[in-house]
Subunit: 215 residues, 2 copies
């Protein structure tokens, strides 16, 4: 067969190093910077944007540009914000005696959607994670301490995730706050609503038994 290289099934010399044009390669490399996106996903995304959804590509381009320009941190709670003070911090109807410390804006959102909390927040923007080079200086812990020292907070509710990193962050904050006169609490641990004992992990069952209460 004349179309094939002579006598070689796995010949690695004659292939093009970069069959895709420069801009497509650049786009794939850029998309790989998104979390959870590897070379294959990046390729699929680049193909999709260029071949099936150029309008969507333009939308992403503009949204990134706009967000980079406009989004900063609320000077009080450290959440993402387009103004100096975010909506919650600026609100007079939120009780500023309570400060709920969360890892991310998504956590804050989840609590807001549960509609159970009317105090204020502080967003750390992450958790301690030495493996990812995220120590206390990479989180907004200094800002939290400043806020706590000058504010009228009476109770700090530590609402970090119940993961290893979240708990380490919570423990670290507990130590820092031990000297202050402020009451520090954490979210209750136990069985989540709708759960079945059969499928519950030992750690949760352990907490559920330890923290059992009268009905």
């Amino acid at each position: 067969m004349e179309c094939c290289l002579p006598g070689s099934t796995f010949h690695h010399l004659n292939y093009l190093d970069m069959p895709d044009p420069r801009s497509v390669e650049d786009l794939k490399n850029a998309l790989k910077r998104l979390p959870g996106v590897g070379p294959k996903s990046a390729q699929r995304m680049a193909f999709h944007l260029l071949e099936r959804d150029r309008k969507g590509a333009r939308q992403i381009e503009q949204a990134i540009g706009q967000a980079l320009t406009r989004v900063n941190h609320c000077v009080q709670c450290n959440n993402f914000c387009e103004t100096e003070l975010c909506e919650i911090c600026a609100s007079a109807s939120r009780n500023s005696q309570f400060l709920c410390v969360v890892e991310t804006p998504a956590d804050l959102e989840a609590i807001e959607q549960a509609g159970v909390y009317r105090g204020k927040y502080f967003v750390l923007m992450g958790h301690l994670s030495p493996l990812d080079d995220i120590g206390p200086d990479q989180l907004a812990i200094k800002e939290l301490m400043t806020l706590v020292s000058r504010n009228t907070v009476e109770e700090i509710i530590l609402a970090t995730n119940l993961t290893l990193e979240g708990q380490a962050t919570s423990d670290y904050l507990c130590e820092l706050l031990a000297e202050s006169q402020i009451q520090v609490t954490r979210l209750a641990r136990g069985m989540p609503m709708g759960s079945e004992l059969e499928y519950m992990d030992p750690g949760t069952l352990n907490q559920a038994f330890t923290n059992r209460s009268t009905p």
Copy 2:
């Protein structure tokens, strides 16, 4: 506890409809247009870009802008291209008697990296998929037929994927090309290199037995 809404654990009235600033919401919505990205991934990506990698965000923004402006289709093979004719189509060292039809640029790249083929290509940019509203008109089939009719192609190698959609596309092209005098072939079917019988699916084993050859 004064911080809580009275007497309600699951109160859905008082939550904020959009706790994130407008630009963050826009960014999340834009990122959802990427294939395989749902609301949770989009949120994680937006957070990552804004909090951990603003440089990367700028890189993505610029790469999209550049790709949208520069990347078009090669007038001959329909692959992504920044010039009128792509590198392979413009090359004098490629045998234009052979035309290999693939679904995507990634497929072309895989064949190039195997280094086994020295003919030319045609990139359909997808496969027939009625469920996704991709029919013959959404693929570059008309362009393929034009190329075939005016060119000196002697053999067309159908190298679509061995998925249902890929095979349907291949069957459709076979029918269209039946009237022409050009020889139409398809890639061999059988056991992939390095595979073990024990883990092979029945369809592949079936093909491997049917197409068996003397060593």
